[in-house]
Amino acid sequence: MRKIEDILKQYRAGSHENLIPILQDVQAEEGYLSENAIVQIGRFLEMSTTKIYGLATFYDRFRFTPSGRVHMRICDGTTCFINGSEAVIRAIRDNLGIEQGQTTRDGRFSYELTSCMGGCNEGPVVCVGEKFHVHVKAEEVPEMITKLKALADLK
């Protein structure tokens, strides 16, 4: 609870133009936008929560459920696509049984698709935390996820 108040302190009350940076900060802090946070932001900015939800759902980067302990960012850029990222994305989706923006029931995994991360020569690229998995192949996905499960259990 403290944290949201600290974030809000950096901004001027009622300044609607700061809504996106505030939401970004809150998400960076908590990993997602909780109902509670949105109500608090709404009170601070004197804005209805419906409007905040309306804005937040328009943009891709906001999520409304906690992310998994292991959060994967999969490049959906054009070069990775040419190098076969679709099969990788499909394999990850089928393996975890979740869509983009969802979290597995055990709370271990979540993933998002991003546009080009700049590693075009190494594609398809999957980024987990600070570590980049490069030249990922669809048939390697089950093995990769098994390894990441161990990582998730450590957290």
């Binding site: 328009f58 054009t78 696509f81 075009c120 020569n121 190494e122």
Partner: protein, 649 residues
């Protein structure tokens, strides 16, 4: 202690270097500057590239390994993290500068290779296979039998003007940028020129917006300057929308201070005291670099209140976008900065008269702004010597895809696409055949073999119906299916359409449905289904033309471009998908059928165990077979078979 040193250096740089009225600096100052620039290093300097591409390839681990090596060996050396040289295929690149010798450039020096490479260089036993070239200038001893960097086609055919600083210095160090002549242009500009004179100079140089539209930059600035208002805004659009382009972020990472200088000059030219850098989300490295650079510039008094007692105020803030493709469009971008949904508005009024918070606003792309300090320093006439009649200067591209050498490149306007594909990229990887060059991302077009001789020029390309785009070039070879590629772009646009206007919201959805129908696996194959698919393509053409004419913003108007271009150039591929139910690149899952060669299959069971839908049956050590009805065409069996027994049609 460190704080005091920094302060001294700050006073020295700002007062002695920046405030110096003439270009000639006293000998003592020159010496100090040369030291900061490491012109003649007394210890070995190891430059390790550290842009996003390098970090993904593992440059941070290499840097740590190099540091450990120097410590273990007791060698006093310097490790400098630079940015990408350009060729992403060579990452992580390491460049070693021994005192008195030319620089040596090595490629793909991953963590495990560091020791061998450094050992080789220090003990004069050159590790040949990883060596790319040497780069030197007068006063250094050349290495024998090692090619110069200028002899390598990837570099020779480029004209590196905006990129000239990249890779040879530490982009995070403002001291080094100033020592290399940076920020002096900005100070001269605010002392010697009026707002209008700056706009005039830039207009005379012929600089045109690099984000695709190609509007004359100086003219845009003048419109904003001439709109009466108490405050104006400058927005640097670093939200590279194209999902396959990385040029702007790479150059921003490579030389953040030049971008800041460009923003400073542009803000002065239009009389703006607030500037915003609108940065793409999910790019942590450029963001961190830029934050650091801004902080340093603020510390040195280059941005802030009453900049170096000139009376000009400027504040620059970074805003990270929240993830919406449409926010690359000017009015949507402004909406997003105002804290609204990023939806485009009708133009006019243009942002130059009615922009951010209703004030006159200029939106320039990163590359455009990077050119500004160079033009102000070297004069508009210098800039006019490069390029074609209508398009001056150079253009950055992030070259990706199937080329042999890909990465960030800069070529002079007027260069042909053939030079890029056959010269700089040196053809296609693995000896495959060239199919197309994709330019401009999801709103761009395909350049075929016969169009490769076209010159890069705003007007020439527009006359051919080709959008220049922001700088994404993707080389496609025969392993990519054009129908599938068009579907990928359409899926992207459909996801990103903001939903404000109907042609775009509904049109992209219908186009995607029809394209998916063309590549979907046939459940019942009758003549009617073929006819349906054929009718679908005719309807696609109608939808495309309606979208082009009636969509509100550029996103919808250009969304059908990849489809139109692919259909006119690769019609036979569409026909094969529709009538023969065949994908020549063997990409479309729905159309692939797999079979197992009974003579080659050893019955090792690998394919059966990997098959996600259990469509492969058989007895161990006997040939296996694929059940077509269950097969989803994923191709995993084809990839895992060690005996090439799985064939695809």
């Amino acid at each position: 202690m460190k704080g005091k040193e920094t302060n001294e250096l700050m006073t020295f740089l700002t007062e002695e270097v920046l405030m110096h009225s003439s270009d000639i600096v006293p000998a003592a100052t020159a010496k100090r500057l040369a030291e900061i620039r490491r012109d003649k290093p007394s210890v070995p300097v190891i430059y390790i590239s550290s842009g996003s591409a390098s970090i993904i390839a593992g440059s941070e681990q290499s840097a740590a390994a190099a540091d450990l090596y120097l410590k273990d060996m007791g060698i006093s050396g310097l490790i400098v993290r630079t940015t990408c040289h350009g060729p992403a295929v060579f990452e992580p690149m390491v460049c070693i500068h021994l005192p008195g010798k030319n620089k040596l450039i090595f490629r793909n020096i991953t963590e495990d290779k560091i020791e061998a490479t450094l050992n080789g260089v220090f003990h004069n036993d050159m590790p040949e296979e990883d060596l790319v070239a040497q780069s030197g200038s007068t006063g250094f001893e050349a290495w024998h039998d090692i090619p110069f960097i200028e002899d390598i086609p990837f570099y020779r055919m480029q004209k590196r003007v905006v990129l000239d600083n990249c890779a040879c210095f530490d982009p995070e160090s403002i001291e080094e940028y100033i020592a290399r002549g940076g920020y002096r242009t900005f100070l001269k500009t605010i002392r010697n020129y009026t707002h209008l004179e700056v706009c005039d100079l830039i207009e005379r140089s012929g600089l045109r917006g690099r984000s695709g539209g190609g509007f004359t930059t100086g003219l845009k600035w003048k419109y904003a300057l001439n709109s009466p208002s108490d405050n104006r805004y400058l927005i640097c659009n670093a939200k590279e929308s194209d999902p396959g382009s990385y040029a702007d972020r790479a150059v921003l990472e490579g030389d953040p201070h030049r971008l800041i200088e460009g923003i400073c000059i542009a803000s002065y030219a239009i009389g703006a005291s607030n500037a915003v850098i609108f940065l793409k989300t999910g790019s942590p490295h450029p963001l961190a670099r830029l934050r650091k650079a801004l902080e340093a510039a603020r510390e040195y008094g280059i941005i802030g209140h009453n900049i170096l007692s000139s009376g000009f105020n400027l504040d620059i803030v970074i805003r990270e976008e929240a993830g919406a493709f449409v926010c690359g469009e000017e009015t949507a971008l402004i909406g997003s900065l105002e804290g609204k949904r990023g939806m485009p508005e009708l133009k006019p009024p243009y942002p130059t008269s009615h922009g951010l918070f209703g004030k006159p606003t200029v939106i320039n792309n990163v590359e455009t702004l990077m050119n500004v300090p160079l033009i102000m320093a070297r004069g508009p006439e210098w800039f006019r010597t490069m390029g074609t009649a209508g398009s001056k200067g150079t253009k950055l591209f992030s070259l990706g895809g199937r080329g042999r050498y890909t990465g960030l490149i800069e070529v002079e306007m007027g260069t042909t696409f053939r030079t890029i594909v056959e010269g700089i990229s040196d053809g296609i990887k693995d000896g495959r055949a060239f199919k197309a060059l994709q330019i401009g991302g999801p709103s761009g077009t395909f350049i075929t073999e016969k169009n490769l001789d076209l010159q890069i020029d705003f007007d020439l390309l527009r006359a051919q119906g080709i959008a220049m785009g922001s700088g994404g070039l993707i080389i496609i070879d025969e392993t990519t299916c054009m129908v599938d590629f068009v579907r990928y772009y359409m899926e992207f646009i459909h996801k990103e359409s903001c939903g404000k206007c109907i042609p775009c919201r509904e049109g992209t959805g219908r186009m995607l449905e029809i394209l998916e129908n063309i590549i979907r696996k046939p459940h019942t194959e009758d003549s009617n289904a073929t006819l349906e698919r054929f009718k679908g393509v005719m309807q696609l053409e109608i939808i495309a033309s309606v979208m082009k004419d009636t969509s509100l913003c550029g996103l919808g108007q250009t969304a059908p471009n990849p489809f139109i271009s692919a259909l006119s150039n690769y019609r036979e591929e569409f026909e094969e998908h529709i009538f023969d139910r065949r994908c020549r690149a063997n990409v479309c899952r729905g159309l692939r059928t797999f079979s197992i060669d009974v003579d080659k299959c050893t019955g090792c069971t690998v394919c059966a165990s990997k098959c996600p839908v259990n469509a492969i049956y058989g007895t161990r050590l006997q040939p296996f077979f694929v059940v077509d009805d269950k097969c989803i065409g994923c191709g995993i069996c084809y990839d895992v078979c060690k005996f090439s027994a799985v064939t695809v049609r």
